[in-house]
């Protein structure tokens, strides 16, 4: 197999940029609106009954958690759907792989693009929480970077899922059995300390949990050496899912 050559990436990004320039209003609308709905509906709705969690206003707790909702939705779904459509329906990948581009470069190119986009989308709920009591601080500037690293692994996961399924309808199994638990057992809406201990253990392999922990550390000024554990977990997750994505896509595209 040819060595990875980063010179292929700008061309992949060019393709994504052309598509994005055409569809950005719809993509951005969905990516921003959904987490904001969670923030307002749950943050303010449930917040009327729950004053504080871990010493912070509930809406601020959910607002910082909604960053991870935005990251999950903006990365894993494009990883699944865009990849499946381009590969199976449009056959665009077949064309691209007849140029000097390899499967690994194609997948990494797409994932880094989606992750970059997610770095922006993911930061929106955090900014929207500021008027509700989240105090701005310099370490918040790290949040886009946290979103990027988290989204990279989640996009690779989406690509992997798109390579595993035979028909697009099968995505619903993964949505229900994998993505929903990832979101709810992560500390977005309630602290996972209240759940059985084994759930807390499992959450260590949940990238959304690590994303939320890091985002809250950055937002509340609690970054410490312990935060590096979450960074490491996200990097390892991206490395594993990246490998899986390239492997399954190579199997599908190189016959």
């Amino acid at each position: 197999m040819a060595r990875f050559d980063a010179r292929s990436l700008p061309a992949i990004w060019t393709r994504e940029l052309i598509i994005f320039k055409r569809y950005w209003p719809g993509t951005t609308f969905t990516a921003i609106l959904e987490p904001l709905i969670f923030l307002f509906a749950i943050g303010l709705g449930v917040g009327a009954f729950v004053d504080e969690i871990d010493g912070m206003k509930y809406v601020v707790f959910v607002g910082t958690g909604a960053v991870a909702t935005a990251v999950l939705f903006s990365s894993v779904f494009p990883g699944m759907y865009n990849t499946f459509i381009a590969r199976v329906f449009q056959k665009v990948y077949d064309g691209i792989l007849s140029t000097p581009t390899t499967t690994a470069e194609l997948m990494v190119g797409e994932a880094t693009w989606i992750a970059t986009r997610t770095a922006v989308y993911g930061s929106v709920p955090m900014l929207a929480t500021i008027p509700f009591g989240l105090s701005p601080r310099w370490s918040m500037l790290l949040v886009p970077l946290i979103c990027f690293i988290s989204a990279l692994g989640l996009t690779f996961l989406g690509q992997y899922i798109s390579g595993v399924v035979k028909v697009i309808d099968s995505f619903s199994y993964f949505q229900s059995a994998l993505l929903t638990p990832l979101l709810f057992v992560s500390g977005t809406y309630f602290p996972i300390d209240g759940l059985p201990r084994w759930v807390g253990t499992i959450s260590n392999v949940n990238p959304v949990y690590h994303c939320i922990e890091l985002v809250r550390d950055a937002c509340f000024g609690t970054l410490s050496l312990a935060s590096l554990w979450h960074v490491l977990a996200l990097v390892v997750f991206a490395a594993i899912t990246g490998k899986l994505s390239v492997r399954v896509m190579t199997k599908r595209l190189i016959t």
Partner: protein, 293 residues
């Protein structure tokens, strides 16, 4: 080279060499293994045995280098529908690593080749089937390739559009590029290919110029008789008796290689029409199958 998919042998110990600057036509019915062969050349389908070299690059170990000197026009249109013709070409120039400074010029040239300069800003989805094919051909040339693979370049198009595309392909051929073109259209192979390999069941069963193939297998002239099956049976028997080859097609029979046969004899078998032999005669005679698959 050999390629198997499970028990099915798509390419069966096939060996072929293409002379630089010539157009090789791979002529065969659907399912003969032509597309598999094309994908093997780009490294998108692996080999179960043998090897492929594009210029000096071994596809198994240097597939990226091989693809960098290739231009590919696939059988299945795989352009980004929602992008304009210009955007598609610009993207391809980037993917093929055309230096940034030369991309604009390369795109303009490809648009001119595809005769789509005036439709450059049109989304591909709004172009007709023929225009999309022309664009695919132009795209295959964007990186000034040394070798071009054309997989059924005119499949499914009407005759007028097809002859427009032939003009473009002929222009490519004349520019000195090596062309490997698969087709199941006789006329396309006869008009464009310098050299033809007849492919069936993953094997090359005959190879040569159109003229050589006709001379070697079916002679230069044929006569065609029409009639009910029993009459055609009789003519087939007479042909065998006269030492001539024949082939049936529906309500007709063609007796082949009749250029040295007495006209009176042929006339005595029934009403006939004379025609030059063609590659379909060669193909059917060699395989017993029709090119339409």
């Amino acid at each position: 080279m050999t390629k198997r998919f499970g028990d099915f042998v798509a390419v069966d110990d096939l060996s072929i060499e293409v002379q630089p600057g010539t157009c090789l036509g791979l002529l065969g019915p659907n399912g003969a293994g032509k597309t598999t062969l094309m994908r093997m050349i780009t490294g998108q389908t692996g080999l179960n045995g043998g090897s492929i070299s594009v210029l000096d690059f071994d596809v198994a170990t240097q597939s990226r280098d091989a693809r960098s000197v290739l231009g590919v026009c696939p059988q299945q249109d795989n352009m980004d529908d929602q992008q304009t013709a210009r955007e598609n070409l610009a993207l391809w120039a980037a993917l093929c690593r055309v230096p940034r400074a030369r991309r604009k010029e390369a795109v303009a040239k490809a648009l001119a080749t595809a005769q789509l300069t005036d439709r450059a800003s049109e989304r591909v989805t709004n172009l007709s089937g023929g225009m999309r094919r022309r664009l695919l051909l132009g795209r295959a040339f964007i990186n000034s390739p040394k070798v071009v693979l054309l997989d059924e370049p005119t499949v499914g198009l009407d005759p007028q559009v097809r002859s427009d595309l032939w003009l473009i392909i002929d222009g490519m051929r004349r520019s000195g590029v090596t062309v490997v073109m698969s087709t199941h259209y006789i006329e396309e192979a006869e008009r464009l290919a310098d050299d033809i390999a007849i492919v069936n069941h993953g094997r090359v069963i005959a190879r040569g110029t159109p003229q050589q193939l006709r001379e070697q297998y079916v002679g230069l002239e044929a006569v065609e008789y029409f009639g009910p099956p029993e009459v055609l049976d009789e003519i087939a028997a007479k042909a065998v008796h006269a030492g001539l080859k024949s082939r049936r097609a529906g309500l007709s029979i063609s007796v082949l290689g009749v250029e040295g046969t007495a006209t009176e004899l042929l006339d005595s078998w029934g009403r006939l029409s004379r025609r030059p032999t063609n590659l379909e005669d060669v193909f059917v005679l060699l395989t017993g199958e029709s090119l339409d698959g």
